[in-house]
Chain length 91, copies 2
DNA sequence: TATATAATTAGATATATATCTAAATATCTA
DNA sequence: TAGATATTTAGATATATATCTAATTATATA
């Protein structure tokens, strides 16, 4: 997974909000939609981008698709930034 | 400064490379250009975006503009991600 | 099995972004 | 001060992205 793809996924406010919502626990598309001011197809598009960036996962539960947060990529990003910043201290 | 603007600035590969180059020390536009496969105006555009995101600073030195890395915003990003991830441990 | 509900996919459109060439600006130097 | 060098700004263009409506797919249920 490229850092660019991750940062790109993280750069959109609606997607940040989705991650914030999922932080508290998994949610269906419909439930997420209640907190965002976009149509369902637009929401679906944002979920797709987050999923391709491996920031979230999904599973079907009856008629609903339940999305949940993946922490690992964000942990990697934090680690990479920390490693990047580490040079500062070396100097 | 919005997180979106920061992530957006960080999402482009050439800009990531610029930050990487500046990590080792300040450089002129011309020097940075040696490592990137873009024209000078394009490079100037990327520098402008990084500067607007407060990720780099510049000063004039004779005919050259010298760019240097700002660590603070990246430190903030790392901190925000860490804080975001902290909920995981709480639960 | 027809209808309702949940979500995605398709297709269109408007805005943003990355890129280039050409022109402008700033500084240095012969 | 004329010409060279360094960088930015202006303007054009092609690609990417966010958004919508309409259509499709998947599941549940009366």
């Amino acid at each position: 997974m490229s850092l660019s793809k991750t940062f790109s996924a993280l750069s959109e406010p609606n997607r940040q909000k989705i991650l914030d919502l999922l932080k508290k626990g998994e949610l269906s598309v419909n439930e997420i939609g209640k907190y965002l001011d976009v149509t369902t197809p637009t929401l679906s598009h944002h979920l797709d981008i987050l999923k391709r960036a491996d920031l979230i996962s999904s599973r079907r539960q009856g008629q609903q698709i339940i999305y949940s947060l993946n922490f690992s990529i964000l942990e990697e990003v934090a680690e990479k930034i920390a490693k990047f910043l580490a040079v500062k201290k070396i100097k």
